[in-house]
Symmetry: C2
Subunit: 326 residues, 2 copies
């Protein structure tokens, strides 16, 4: 079975671990979000790709969900001693090595997809990990600027890099729009459209529907390829009981005018794209509403509390795919 | 008093510490060798400049003489886990931060002299540290290539970066020439010629006469500026009793056809450049030979065993300068 998964960071990575357990013989291709990539200290940092790679490769800081286990921070402390920031982005020494290798290969002319493949020869994630694109796409968030003068009483607005909004500002300032800058001119990375075309099923893990999966879908050709692949497209709700399971998905959903409910997220993807949708058992009441929107829906436990629970979620998604296919 | 010092790495840095103690009120400008600069892992590494900066700024690994005190090696270990080398160059985590800052500033368009000044705002070395040039100069060494096929019985030769010769090969293969590649087109960094022109005395510490001081003198205009400054130019022999005090200066002296003696090094610099020369007391027998070559010479203790001994060496050099001037 060939499975294509669109993945953001922590949620996508943990789901993939469950999927590998649920379908150990499957051929899994992961299309990773690169809209949250950022250049820090002159180095190219790809947080979502690395979270998938470290999680599946056994190098992740388990409790934190991102970054490396056993991490130290000598480089970051020294950079701070030089007065070189930003200090709000927590790069550890082990993590720095990944970014140094990536930056060196990028500077030598290798596209991100080739760099990612090279990094994965070490990590052996057990999936084929592709960046959504080799082109530069940067998710920016339009936020109120609390530091700007407000002559007419209206807060001034400014666009900030997604990481600045997410990590530095902790999504605490009002967000008005989310823009994947550069997406309109990006091309899917080599292998992305081919993997979708060859897939038996496409899965949307409980990742952020706007800044993770939404950004991947914003790369021209990807949404159409998935919609027209003629195979079941199954998603899992990142919202349980009107709140995101993890992270601050509600904030960016609000920015694009979508309610933070399991039902609204399904309708945000839309029946033109999504064939099936899993909601948590606590949201069983929305099943009819989702099905009324033309998307087959089931209520199952959606908390990734451990590998077994996550495996069962993945198995439920694959079961729903079979149901859709039948 | 305005003192200009041409400095390599460890020897130059330790001498400078003595000089600061001997002349605490002097205005000291250090012209640092950059011929041993190397790009590693996509980062610009300036070993000699950093050794001076760390030594005078209190961050040096005292016993080792280079690198940072309290160093850790997480980044290097991770790079090795990625299969990314070279492994023979020991960059520590703290040191990496310096190279990351330097590389980022260089990529942003700042010349090395400006970058060095910025790094020194943290380290406060108590001297003005200038790279010899903002242009790229790389010292290459022509060596026997033990790995190449030797069809006619003669060893094949190849040019290697100085660091590869010095650190990886530990100067154990025969060297036939030392070439400061790019020096002929390099311009002295801003401030270098001005500092020489304004100096009251120019000092050559017991640094490597070929690959440290020789490389600085290879930058067009520097040798002439020193020779024509009309102020005492005083050197200290890095050779004591026919062997280098530290390092492998004898190997690179042989490559340029110079004997490893305190007298031969003085004559290598030449009376057109050098006014005075300090040899160690164990080499008192060569004083007449050096003076016969037109260079005033004194025998004094030249072992930098501690700060006081080093301070006395610097004081002896300044005393010889006064004697020359008088």
């Amino acid at each position: 079975m060939r499975i294509v998964v669109l993945a953001g960071g922590i949620g996508g990575a943990r789901f993939l671990r469950g999927l590998k357990a649920a379908a150990p013989d499957a051929d899994i291709t992961v299309i990773g979000n690169t809209g949250d990539d950022i250049h820090l200290f002159g180095l190219k940092v790809c947080p979502d790709l690395d979270t998938v790679m470290y999680t599946l490769g056994g190098g992740i800081h388990e409790e934190q969900g991102w970054g490396r286990a056993g991490e130290t921070f000598a480089v970051k402390d020294e950079l701070a001693a030089y007065g070189v920031g930003p200090e709000w982005f927590g790069l550890g020494d082990r993590d720095f090595a990944t970014h140094i290798v990536r930056t060196q290969m990028t500077a030598a002319g290798y596209p991100l997809s080739a760099v990612t493949e090279a990094l994965c020869t070490r990590w052996q994630p057990g999936v084929r990990l592709l960046p959504m694109t080799d082109d530069r796409v940067e998710t920016h968030v339009l936020v109120d600027d609390p530091e700007a003068p407000q002559s007419d009483g209206e807060p001034a607005r400014k666009a900030v890099h997604f990481q600045e909004y997410w990590v530095r500002l902790r999504a605490r300032v009002p967000a008005h729009a989310v823009v994947p800058v550069g997406a309109e001119n990006a091309k899917p990375a080599p292998g992305v459209l081919e993997a979708v075309a060859a897939a038996d099923v496409v899965l949307f893990p409980p990742s952020n529907p706007v800044v993770s999966i939404g950004t991947i879908l914003a790369v021209p050709g990807v949404r159409t390829a998935i919609a027209e692949a003629g195979v079941p497209v199954i998603g899992l709700s990142p919202i349980v009981g009107d709140a995101p399971v993890r992270g601050m998905a509600d904030k960016v959903l609000a920015a694009v005018g979508v309610e933070s409910t399991a039902s609204a997220v399904a309708r945000f993807y839309g029946s033109g794209l999504l064939d099936g949708w899993l909601v948590d058992t606590t949201d069983a009441a929305v099943v009819d509403e989702v099905e009324a929107a033309g998307i087959r829906c089931r209520a199952v436990p959606l908390m990734m509390t451990d590998l077994e629970a996550t495996r069962r979620m993945a198995a439920d998604a694959l079961a729903l795919a079979e149901e859709v296919r039948a």
